[in-house]
Amino acid sequence: MLRIECPWCGVRNEDEFSYGGDAAVDRPSDEGSPDEWYDYVYTRNNSAGKHTEHWQHVNGCRAWVIVVRDTVTHKIYSTVPASPNLPTGKAGVDQT
């Protein structure tokens, strides 16, 4: 059971969250080339090790968060809000 520390709600089970995939891919601008758009949608680093990823606390506060997790050990290093503009939650979200 992954236990993800929502920056607002605290530690919750993975089944309160939904997975949003690789958060390290940058969305190209409207002027982006077809290659950039292809890369953004289709290719993934798929690292074995530290992986930056999106999760949404769907069954909780509905915030999207960015989790740094090891894909081999599943250890979570950090969880931070995805949006810089939401009022901050609880202090101390370093999950190491």
Binding site: W37, H54, Q56, A63, W64, S83, N85
Partner: protein
């Protein structure tokens, strides 16, 4: 006399509470506190079942959950439990058990003939044969193999009991309540930590209950009971008995199974049979003890050959004499205690056979004082006997060249050393390491917040167990944030020593060969291990898979280390280089019901009801599932009404008159803020910046890969206030999608939104008389000029506050009324009342489907995740001069290329023959038998009352350019073929005059 093999006194059973039970139809008595195994032994029953492959007689090897052999079928009927270990069944009144895998009877089993053919049935034999003649595989061989496999038979009725799941958090979880665990729990609890201690057994104390040991000067079991009493009195301690911790998962989540009602015939009212606990401890102390491994010698599987410690358990804890003439065979000092305890219980101990040449002097002296013969440098080479062991043949450990010494006996207690129970440690991600001192694996570096203590840590001395438990409990509490001084551990009485010398396989008696079993449940012999290695299946994992060693229901708890030691010997490599197979959950087999908990049957998934559900039900509506929702599909008016009758009637009533449908299930999202319009503009392919207040617009959303995601209408209610609707199916995904883009991609947009799906009941009122109807109840001007097509307004419906939308899915003049859901049913009734004079009637999703097909509105079956706006004829809406999600990938070459499936209308050219969804479109050269390329398929069909024929929507290769052509719609599953005409998908009112009327 019953219970002939009970000791005269002693043991932790309650001799005042006799219990009756039956095994294989015969009645027996035992006592409260017995297991089925101990009670059977007390009655002199040693033969419990037949082995898997050779159908050899099998008895009881162990006294706990590691038991490989003593498996019975427990209970009957729907409560039948095959493959249940007699050693873990608490005896209860009326218990019924049966032997397995034998026919016609346990003592005479025909399949025992396999025993003779054993050389043929060597490891992996089936891979080498059964290939000829080819057809025999499916028809004959496989059938036989399958019938032979498996031990017990499954119940076929639904389980009458129920199961539960529960969550509990704590600071320190202690697994196992032996001396180490009890100390750990105490130490952590004393510091104020929230402590959970769980043990498989009902009686806590672990080995203290089965050994003749003392702590603080008291008998071990008394000390344990006092310790338990102390813990129970603390409100920061939660003690779980009958609870096996079976899985150590990520992030220190630990799963356990509590056997709530297995010790009674039927669970008490409301009580579950078993309960799964999910523990969330900050720290875990694993004090799970160790498992003894048997010595491997010829015929070592005969009933009456038992583990030495199990013999002590039966003798000391259950007051049972597992035999009358015993020999103890060992490679370590610990098993001497078995001889001493048996002697104390009045069993004749013929000899202790120790493979070591220099055994422990004090122990030897103690045996001498009891007149028990000690034979050193020898071991049992083979045993003999039929359904019960009758003798042992002794050999020297160097191997012999003469006839072996024979000792008659009916019990052989064997000890090959101890394996710490590393399952949970290993499941937590850690790698056990080999320890030369105990000839087994011990815990390695921890990967999670976990520590092993006591026998589970390879420390077998009682004092060590107490010391380690205390220290680990205190440390765990400290790591969880609790302070306080550590107490002193209690003093353990002397428990001897645990020195051991390796002996992996006994030499066989001179010039003889015997079956030497490694894995007793799967009938894997030493020769199978050797053969596997010889054939190249020589890594532990290949060995396991080729021979099935360790794959039986005991998962090799007593056999794995022996097997890999033999393999290492065969490979000529040290044991650590060979390694062990992976430990996997569950630690003991766990009933599927436990994993399911309450989430089965009707609770497997919740049902969603609209506010009009009860009314619909009263009307006798037939429902259809839409995701979790139940929607009215059609409304039969008489028992003879078919679905077709109903949807034609309901469609006609809508097209010709006025009808209403509950559309509450559509997703609804309230969107507000200065950037709301800009946000919509990026979500949808069409323009949103200039939608006037009071107006509704249809919109289409794409996924980032360019495929259509969802469609729906969005209304502008105020300057910065919008109201979006989504399809029923996509309500939740669309909201998450919006939240994703708002929070991660465009956080600078000042917009807020939330789902209001639940707040509103939606009722569509459709048909030429809809305006007339609504005018009677709505308090705003509904004339066409004042409230034109695609208008929205706030109003009251009689007294009920409402929102009114002039939109149409049916293609008729139509409105949608939204009212707060608690008023939903009342609004529905008021509309029915107001429309009575016009003949208003409800309609369901079936006529809704009919009308949308007639109107060529695409829906879920066309928005199948593989279609683009262009494919669906919606590209006209898009504005490619602005940015929107999916814009770039919807312009990839393949998205614009020829050969894509595009939406078309289809008309049956064969009167009376209806098109069916799932039919494929093929050109007329194709016969039903020939292999072909499908050109597309039929996605939605209906009989169109307006057109008087069967029509459909379909997705057809380059369909847009093919209107007017003919093609075949084939349904090979039912040998059907219908000629159809391809046409424009909008069948009626192509200019949309009706909706604007």
């Amino acid at each position: 006399m019953t219970q002939k093999f009970r000791t005269t006194d002693g043991g932790l059973i309650d001799r005042n509470r006799p219990i009756s039970f039956t095994f294989d139809g015969k009645s027996y008595q035992g006592y409260e506190g017995d297991t089925l195994a101990s009670a059977l032994l007390a009655n002199g029953v040693h033969l419990l079942g037949r082995s898997f492959k050779y159908h050899r007689p099998r008895g009881i090897l162990a006294a706990g959950s590691e038991e490989p052999n003593a498996m019975v079928e427990l209970r009957t009927g729907a409560r039948k439990e095959p493959n249940t270990r007699a050693t873990t069944i608490e005896l209860f009144d009326g218990l019924v058990a049966k032997s397995q895998n034998c026919w016609p009877s346990l003592s005479f089993d025909i399949m025992a003939i396999n025993n003779l053919f054993s050389p043929l049935l060597s490891a992996g034999f089936y891979y080498k044969t059964f290939m000829w003649p080819v057809s025999f595989w499916t028809n004959v061989y496989e059938h036989i193999i399958r019938r032979a496999a498996g031990l017990g038979t499954a119940p076929t009725e639904a389980d009458p009991d129920h199961y539960e799941q529960c969550h509990e958090h704590c600071d320190v979880l202690v697994v196992g309540a032996g001396p180490a665990g009890l100390m750990a729990a105490q130490a952590a609890a004393d510091k104020g930590a929230r402590v959970i201690i769980a043990d498989e057994h009902v009686l806590l104390g672990g080995s203290l209950n089965s050994e003749d040991l003392t702590v603080s000067g008291k008998p071990g079991n008394d000390w344990a009971a006092a310790q338990v009493a102390k813990l129970s009195a603390m409100d920061n301690v939660h003690i779980f008995t009958r609870t096996t911790v079976f899985g150590y998962y990520d992030h220190n989540t630990v799963a356990a199974i509590e056997k709530v009602s297995d010790h009674v015939a039927v669970p008490a009212p409301g009580k579950p049979r078993q309960r799964m606990w999910i523990f969330y401890p900050k720290q875990v102390v694993i004090a799970a003890g160790a498992t003894e491994r048997p010595l491997i010698f010829g015929n070592n599987d005969i009933p009456g050959i038992m583990l030495a410690a199990a013999v002590r358990t039966y003798t000391n804890q259950y007051g049972v004499k597992p035999g009358s003439r015993a020999i103890v065979v060992t490679n370590n000092s610990d098993a001497y205690r078995t001889a001493i305890d048996l002697h104390g219980a009045g069993v004749t101990v013929v000899a202790v056979v120790d493979s070591r040449t220099h055994p422990d002097a004090p122990l030897a002296a103690e045996l001498a004082s009891l007149s028990i013969e000690l034979i050193t440098g020898k071991t049992v080479g083979a045993a003999g006997g039929g359904q019960r062991v009758a003798y042992a043949l002794l050999v020297s450990t160097q191997g012999d060249t003469e006839e072996p010494q024979r000792i008659d006996c009916d019990l052989i207690a064997s000890s090959g050393g101890w394996n710490p129970n590393l399952h949970l440690h290993s499941q937590s991600g850690a790698k056990p390491v080999y320890n030369e001192a105990i000839f087994s694996f011990v815990p390695g570096q921890s990967r999670q917040a976990e520590v092993c203590v006591g026998a589970a840590n390879g420390s077998f001395g009682l004092q060590e167990c107490l010391d380690q438990g205390l220290a680990a409990g205190a440390e765990a509490a400290k790591l969880a944030g609790f302070k306080g001084k550590n107490k002193k551990p209690p003093k353990a009485g002397d428990d001897g020593d645990y020195s051991i010398e390796a002996l992996w396989i006994s030499p066989t008696p001179y010039n003889k060969s015997y079956k030497q079993f490694v894995d007793q449940q799967n009938d894997v012999k030493v020769s199978d291990v050797n053969l596997a290695a010889q054939e190249g299946y020589d890594s532990v994992e290949l060995l396991k898979r080729y021979t099935t060693q360790g794959m039986a229901t005991d998962q090799g708890k007593t056999s794995n280390v022996n097997a890999l030691a033999i393999l290492a010997g065969q490979r000529g490599e040290p044991i650590p280089d060979v390694g062990i197979t992976t430990f996997r959950p569950p630690y003991v087999p766990v009933a599927m019901g436990v994993f399911a908990g309450h989430t089965v049957g009707h609770e497997f998934m919740p049902v969603r009801h609209t506010a009009i559900h009860d009314w619909n039900k009263k009307q006798g509506a037939v429902f259809i599932e839409a995701g979790l929702w139940l929607r009215a599909r059609y409304y039969p008016q008489s028992p003879s009404d078919t679905m077709t009758d109903c949807y034609i009637r309901e469609t006609n009533n809508t097209r010709n008159n006025v009808a209403m449908i509950d559309v509450s299930t559509l997703g609804k999202i309230d969107i507000q803020g200065p950037d709301a319009a800009e946000f919509l503009n990026r979500l949808y392919i069409n323009n949103w910046l200039k939608l006037p207040i009071g107006k509704v617009r249809y919109g289409v959303m794409l996924r980032e890969d360019g495929m259509v995601f969802d469609d729906g209408t969005t209304s502008r209610l105020g300057e910065n206030h919008y109201f979006m609707t989504t399809t029923t199916a996509n309500a939740a995904p669309v909201l998450s999608h919006m939240e994703y883009y708002h929070q991660t991609v465009w956080p600078d947009l000042d917009v807020v939104f939330c789902s209001v799906t639940e707040q509103w009941t939606g009722i569509a009122v459709a048909g030429p008389n809809s305006r007339k109807l609504l005018k009677k109840v709505i308090d705003i001007d509904l004339d066409n000029a004042a409230f034109p097509f695609m208008a929205v307004g706030e109003c009251h419906m009689n007294k009920i506050p409402a929102r009114l939308f002039r939109i149409s899915f049916s293609g008729e003049l139509a409105y949608e009324v939204n009212v707060p859901a608690d008023y939903g049913e009342q609004a529905w009734l008021e509309l029915l009342e107001a429309g009575k004079e016009m003949g208003v009637a409800p309609y369901g999703t079936e006529p809704l489907g009919t009308m949308r097909i007639e109107k060529g509105h695409v829906a879920g079956s066309e928005l199948d995740g593989r279609t683009t706006a262009l494919d669906l004829g919606l590209e006209g809406l898009s504005n490619r001069s602005k940015h929107f999600i999916g814009k770039h990938n919807s312009a990839r070459p393949a998205m614009l290329a020829e050969g894509r499936l595009q939406v078309v209308g289809l008309k049956s050219l064969e009167p009376g023959r209806n098109l069916r969804v799932g039919a494929h479109l093929v050109d007329d050269k194709v016969t039903l038998e020939s292999v072909s390329q499908s050109q597309g398929h039929v996605s939605a069909t209906t009989f169109s009352p307006s057109l008087g024929c069967s029509i459909a929507l379909g997705l057809l290769k380059d369909g847009t350019a093919r209107h007017g052509e003919q093609i075949d719609a084939v349904f090979p599953l039912d040998d059907e073929k219908i000629r159809v005409e391809i046409c424009h998908p909008v069948f009626i009112d192509p200019k949309g005059e009706l909706v604007r009327a």
